[in-house]
Structure formats: structure tokens, C-alpha cells
Amino acid sequence: MTATVSTISAAITATENLLHYGFMRRALIAALLVGLAAPSVGIFLVQRRLALIGDGLGHIAVTGVALGLVLNRAPVPIALITAVTGAVGVELIRARGEQSAEIALAILFYGGIGGGVVLASQAPSGSRNLTQYLFGSIATTSSGDLTTFAVLAAVVVCTAVVLGGALFSVSNDDEFARASGLPVMRLNLLLAALSAFTVVVSMRIVGVLLVSALMVVPVAAAQLVARSFRSTFVIGLGIGVVVSLSGVIVSFYADTPPGGTIVLFAIGVFAVLLVVVNVGRIVHRR
């Protein structure tokens, strides 16, 4: 008991220490936003069996980030435009449903990352800065970024809640949704745009190459213990927030990149739940 109390008070002191730093306050807020936004979109992508599409959008966003570095202007808005354009393009290619669609997507994704790396090498600051956007960095979130992230994350989470029924229907059974007269194409484009927004929200803390993990892994962990779509959504968001915040805190003390730390935490939660659920099943059978 005493040990627990002293651990908690140590944690509180440590958090207070963290909050002395302005950059850490901003990093924690950005982590909270991405922790909420990523699983909100991810649940529909996973249900649609498009878990890896966020990864592709991240690749495309790399070009946007690099363009920002070359032009020496705010990379966040430029990445937003690139990611949304890319997401709409991806959805239109997919909707054609042709055999060659997969190859077209691969070319788009690798073109995004290839173009981004080459562009960034021409930036005045060189390509060193690019790494921060690929894998996250706790020291770089500005107040301006936070405003953008907050607006985008609010749009993502509110849309996922308000239009959740329609997004669920389309993700769960696209053909039934079409027969019901739902605007399937528009809903798919909306989901693509929300995914692009999430990629941008992730830029500072998680990094565009790792955001897909935060869209998918908390949801994958939640579905191990949930019995409904709604509870998967709620638990997924909870896991997203917890791993994002704890990832940022640990990366501060351990001096590790926050994106990787957050993703490893999320995978850790998944692994623990997987073991607990399976042990539970074995015990239950006996």
C-alpha cells in the first residue's frame, strides 16, 4: 500500500516536472489529440479491411512535408493539402476496382516517399529535419500546430461519432449500403479525408510513417476484449490516448523517439490483452 502511494506520488511529481516545459505541454496535448483521432478513423478502416491504407497516406504525406521544407514554409498545411489530395486519389483509384488498382496504389505510395526523400535533400536545412516528421519528435510542436491539430482532431472524432452509423454500414457491407441508397462514394471519400487529417495530426508526435500503427493497433487490441462495435470504439480510443501520453512521457525520460515508443506501447497492450484473453479462454474451458 505504502509502495503504491509512493509510486503514485513519484509519478505525480514526475508529471509536474514535465509540465514545467512548454514543449512538453504541447507534446502531451498533441499526443492526446492523435490518440483520440487515430483509432476513431482506424476502426472503420479495419472493418473495411483497409488497415494499411493509412500507411499509404503517410507515404504520400512525406512529399508534402518535404515540399514544405524545400519552400521553407509551414510543412503542416502543405502536408494537409498533399495528404487530402492523395487520399481522394487513392479512393478514386480503389473505386474503379480494376485489377491494376493495387499496382497503381503501390506506385502512388512509393512515389510519395521517393519524391519526399529526394525533395527534402534539396531543402535549405537538408534532409535531417525530415526524420522528425517521419518518426515524430517531442520538441517540435508549435502553438500554431496545436491549433491545426485540435481543429482536425475535433473534425475527425465528431464525424466518427455523428456519422458513425453510416460509416459503419459502408465499412461493414458496402453492397448493402449501396442497396440502402446510402451515398457510398461520398462516405468513402469522407473516410479517406478523415484518414488524411489524422495523418497530419500525427505529424509532430507519432510521425507520418508510424501513424498507421496508431490507427490500427489500439483497435486491434480493443476488439480482443470488446463484444460490440461501440465498445471496440470506446476501448480503442482509451488505449490510443493512454499509449500516446505514456509514450511521450517515457520518450522524454528515456530520450527515445516518441513515435516508435508509442507504437511499441500499443503493441505491448495488444500482446498483453492477447495473452490474457487466451489464458482466460483456456481456464474457462477447464
Partner: protein, 261 residues
């Protein structure tokens, strides 16, 4: 109004990527129970999807309730039950959540769920006999129960026309009968539901079917009362009877038509 046409296909040609898979013209009136029968690849599923605008229409016209398909907005009147081996995806979904998605056409996308919506969902779940499973994840249900859940989803919006694609395929006898019972109740109601069902085998639905549309190689070979359908067309490539006897002999104990041994 009992004879009002609910679905009309005029000189329809349907298919995929510009290739015609089926040609058909037919008019389905309110209260009919139409079976689209035929062997694999005969075009029966394509025809059903063509009625809903889910495949390419390469020629002809489709009207629902007297309106051209494209202009028809009251989609909640149409309940579609697609052929699915499973109604479950990677994320757990309860029967109630699945059935609620059938309510969207009626409720609208943004409006909050009302008590009326909840009642309609509960009624649809009860109608297919899954009342005690409403809170269960769909993935824990048997294949037959999952089909019934899909039927409840189609009913939840208040559909007066049901289009079912192979609802009996891969479903055990008990669930086939439960499904037939649920359909039987629907067609016996005062406001009878019109049913169009794609079938491989008539099974326990046989007593309900009022009209058979037999397809082969992408064309309608017979369209009329089930009792007058030529036996050869009802044998559907499953149950080849070398004597070609009366397809209704031995009913009701032995539904011979297309029965998989």
C-alpha cells in the same frame, strides 16, 4: 393496388465491365413470392443485383414502384439480403448493431436514433427469431443464424419488398426452416411483403413460392407459376432425375427439387 408493379425490368441487360451476363424482362407485382432459379452462372444473382442497381445496366430499364431506379429515393421500402458466408467483419458487431444499419435508409444519416428506431430494430430481430441473441456478437452465431440476422437488417427499415440472394446456401436444415417460417409470417401479414429470392434449391421455401423464373445461360427460360414450371428447369443441375418425373410428387415429405442428397 394489390396488383401494382413493385419491380419492373424492361429488356434489361446486366453485367460487369461492359460484358452482358444476363438478359431479362419481367414485372413483379405486390404480394408475389418469386423464385429466381437456375444453375451456377445462369445470371440469377446478376439479375437480382440489376434490380437494385448494384451491377452495370447495359441496356433496358428498371423501375421500382413505378419510378426509374435512379430517381427512386424511398430505399427503405427495399430490403436486400446479400449472399454472405458470414455477416461478421474483423471487429465484433452485435446483432442489434448490424440490424440498426438496416434502419439508416429510413432514419437518415445524421438524425439521432429514436425510440421508434429501437422498436423497429427489436421487431425485426424478433421476426427472424433472434430476440435472445440481440446483444450477442454476430461472429458467435451459426451461419444460419447470421443469415437470419442479415434478413432482420433488411426488414428493419420497414421494407415491403425483400430481395434475397441464396438465403439457404450453406445453412443447416433447422435454420433453413426458421428462415422459411420467418418469411411465411411476413407473406401472411395484411400488408404482405413481396419477395424475390435467388435459389439453388427450393427447400423449405417451396410452399411459399408463387412464381418461378428459371434462368439458364443468362436468359429467362420459363416464367410462370411454380406448379407449371418444366421439371427439367427445376432440377438446377443438382438432382438429376433420369425419369424427369413430376417435381411435386412426394411432397411435402420429400422436397425433391434441387435437393442436395
Amino acid at each position: 393496388m394489390s396488383e401494382a408493379s413493385v419491380i419492373e425490368v424492361r429488356d434489361g441487360q446486366f453485367g460487369y465491365r461492359g460484358q452482358v451476363a444476363v438478359r431479362a424482362g419481367l414485372q413483379i407485382d405486390a404480394g408475389e413470392f418469386v423464385a429466381l432459379l437456375g444453375p451456377n452462372g445462369s445470371g440469377k444473382t446478376t439479375l437480382l443485383k440489376g434490380m437494385l442497381g448494384l451491377v452495370d445496366r447495359l441496356a433496358g430499364a428498371v423501375e421500382l414502384f413505378g419510378q426509374p431506379l435512379r430517381e427512386f429515393r424511398d430505399r427503405s421500402l427495399i430490403g436486400y439480403v446479400p449472399q454472405r458466408q458470414t455477416a461478421a467483419g474483423p471487429i465484433p458487431v452485435t446483432v442489434r448493431e448490424l440490424v440498426r444499419s438496416g434502419r439508416l435508409a429510413h432514419k437518415g444519416l445524421i438524425k439521432r436514433r429514436s425510440r421508434l428506431d429501437d422498436a423497429a430494430v427489436a421487431e425485426a430481430i424478433d421476426a427472424v427469431g433472434l430476440g435472445d441473441k440481440a446483444r450477442e456478437p454476430v461472429s458467435t452465431l451459426s451461419g444460419g443464424q447470421q443469415r437470419r440476422a442479415l434478413m432482420a437488417r433488411a426488414l428493419a427499415g420497414g421494407a415491403t419488398v425483400l430481395l434475397l440472394d441464396e438465403p439457404l446456401a450453406g445453412v443447416d436444415q433447422a435454420n433453413q426452416e426458421a428462415l422459411a417460417d420467418a418469411l411465411g409470417v411476413l407473406v401472411d401479414r395484411d400488408t404482405a411483403v413481396t419477395v424475390v429470392v435467388v435459389l439453388h434449391e427450393l427447400g423449405p421455401l417451396e410452399p411459399l413460392v408463387t412464381r418461378a423464373v428459371c434462368l439458364d445461360a443468362g436468359a429467362v427460360r420459363f416464367d410462370g407459376p411454380l406448379a407449371t414450371a418444366p421439371a427439367a428447369l427445376l432440377h438446377l443441375g443438382h438432382d438429376h432425375d433420369p425419369h424427369g418425373g413430376d417435381p411435386h410428387a412426394g411432397r411435402p415429405n420429400r422436397p425433391r427439387i434441387g435437393l442436395v442428397p
